[in-house]
Amino acid sequence: MGNFAANEGLSIFVILVWLGINAFLFVHFYMAFLVDRYYYTRVILGHALSWARAPAACLNFNCMLILLPVCRNLLSFLRGSIQCCSRTAARQLDRNLTFHKLVAYMIALHTAIHIIAHLFNFERFMDSQLMINNSHLPYVLSQIGKNDNRSYLNPIRTNETSQTIVMFTTIAGLTGVVITLALILIITSSMEVIRRSYFEVFWFTHHLFIVFFIGLVAHGIGRIVRGQTVESIIVHDPKKCHSKFETWGQSGTDCPKPDFAGNPPMTWKWVVGPMFLYVCERLVRFYRSQQKVVITKVVMHPSKTLELQMKKKGFKMEVGQYVFMQCPSISQLEWHPFTLTSAPEEDHLSVHIRIVGDWTQALYTACGGDKTVVLDAWTLPKLAVDGPFGTASEDVFRYEVVMLVGAGIGVTPFASVLKSVWYKHVQENKNVFTKKIYFYWLCPETQAFEWFADLLQSLERQMTEKDMRDFLSYNIYLTRWKDAEAAHFRVQYEAENDPITGLKQKTRYGKPNWDNEFSAIATQHPGSKVGVFLCGPTALAKALGKQCISHTESGTEFIFNKENF
């Protein structure tokens, strides 16, 4: 139970604070429109006025927040600064996309409440113009300001129109429709199904957020929410004068005609800061992308994997980070994330790219993948690299004992980790805090990641030479096999090297028994903090998370970190 608090406590706290602020803003602004200034507005609209203004305040707050979790460079910078103080706080920043989605759902919810309340508001405004009867207070109120068009209360100025027309001819109405449409299109194209299959549609439609923010700031310019002016309240007290509306302004009464004015727009005050930060973020990304990147080596691995080794001046990375890459000759607008497979100690940066879609296929062709002759360096395409951006793997070396679990393509960030581990030991860096690494690799077939098996082979060789076989314990689990292959494996059981990978450590078949593994590690390392790092599917994340919680006893503490892609 204690580990649950360690793993989830800060997240829950952040969510509760965020919900609390939302609730507070809602109630506060609901009450703010129940004062005398809006007495006459409420005569026409009732509580629908407050029901529209309260979610508007929450919308201001959430639209301010939504841009912040996607400022990657800012978050990387914060992460670096916080890491020295608190590992937990730094890990919290890994959940930025989850928070972005939560805030988006909240925006959708408040937009719905806001729109429904305004539907009632418009209907009631229209009603009070149509009820042509001078003994009816709403109608009398709607006639105020007919001459100068300044001190009016009812934004629907005549009875010869309809709400729909008014909506499309007022700034507030028009911007409201536009930004709501933008929001709906953004949400429908961000559904997981669309996002995973057609990333480009998601990414391009998401840029409608620019329309959204411009419309949002312009939404209040028309000052359509009106209340009595301060000067008018002094001379005309609504509580006393509301019943005497038939004699307002006539000589002898102490109730002159009330004056109304609109509230100044407030939204820009909330969102201008984050908008500025986001503009800076995009400028930083653009600047970094303009730095020259030179491809030094192209390696074609079997099973459609392309390795690119590049050099970029001034590029510094940590283990397990990722970069965004763009190839202007393929597409000006597309940036795709790839995990770095090189170690910080190497003089180049490398990525291993699986050829699965349009962009990767085009990159493969541009780098001469389908040609057999060696290409000259100057014919290789120009690339832009933005990054590196930090993920959980950065924390690997802060734990004494580490469990790395990679499933399928999730093994990629660990290539960087293992290489770096090796370089650190070769350089006889006594400051290495990490004493033991347990590496688990689950995959349906090793062919797709032969390059990784090669890496393990070379590490194994070097470890044997330096007599350090205990440092890294790796376990490869093959989760699928064919009958014909199975016969071959049975026969090769006694061979020294594994028939599939050629490694001394034999490949295992099926899935690991996590209970046993965790218990064994807990027994071997009592009293230590074990970092568990996973890059793989959600189901496995849940299983490992549960194992971490249940195997954390007095002494050994398992702390779970999941990669986030």
């Binding site: 209907e123 009603d127 549609v201 096999w481 078949y509």
Partner: protein
């Protein structure tokens, strides 16, 4: 934009549009707004669109993810044959359904969203897409006998028991952790 199947996005958009259309209609009717008849139509049209769009189509390439409980809807929609299969029909249907929504403020948003969905469906139809039902696989998995004397169908590659006994000198490379000792007499 590569090999995108527009129909998938059109499906999400029209489902959202149906919900918005119906919600606007409910507000219009419940608040007894002027023109509530359009709102009532909005509820009916919105619900109809939701029912039509709930079952996802099978994708041409890749795995299709079903929505929860969509099987009964799939069967109903499939029953209409070419009317529901063809996306030109759907595009025209959505365009027609959305028009009455434009006459009343509460349903205007639903109208515009459904109109956009209709345009995306038109694009899908022009690209030659059509609706395919996702049906469960017909072959039943072989029932596993209760007796554990039945061997597993695809066991991990194991050598016979005499080789499986862990040899003391080869403990490190032993692949299998037998929970009980394996002897030739068992």
């Amino acid at each position: 934009m590569g090999k995108i199947e527009w129909a998938m996005w059109a499906n999400e958009q029209s489902l959202a549009a149906g919900l918005i259309y119906a919600t606007g209609g409910i507000v219009g009717v419940a608040g007894q707004f002027r023109g509530w008849q359009f709102a009532a139509f909005g509820i009916a049209a919105g619900v109809f669109v939701c029912l039509l769009e709930y079952p996802r189509s099978k994708r041409r390439k890749g795995t299709s993810v079903e929505r929860t409980g969509q099987y009964c809807f799939t069967v109903c929609v499939k029953a209409f044959g070419p009317l529901t299969r063809n996306y030109y029909v759907r595009a025209f249907l959505h365009a027609a359904l959305c028009v009455p929504g434009g006459f009343m403020l509460a349903t205007v948003l639903g109208c515009v969203c459904l109109g956009i969905a209709s345009l995306i469906y038109l694009s899908a139809a022009i690209h030659g897409e059509h609706w395919e039902p996702i049906l469960p696989r017909t072959e039943q998995p072989k029932s596993v006998g209760n007796s554990i004397k039945e061997p597993p169908q695809n066991p991990p590659p194991r050598p016979p028991p005499e080789l499986r006994r862990k040899k003391v000198d080869k403990l490190e490379t032993a692949v299998y952790d037998n929970p009980m000792s394996v002897t030739i007499n068992e």
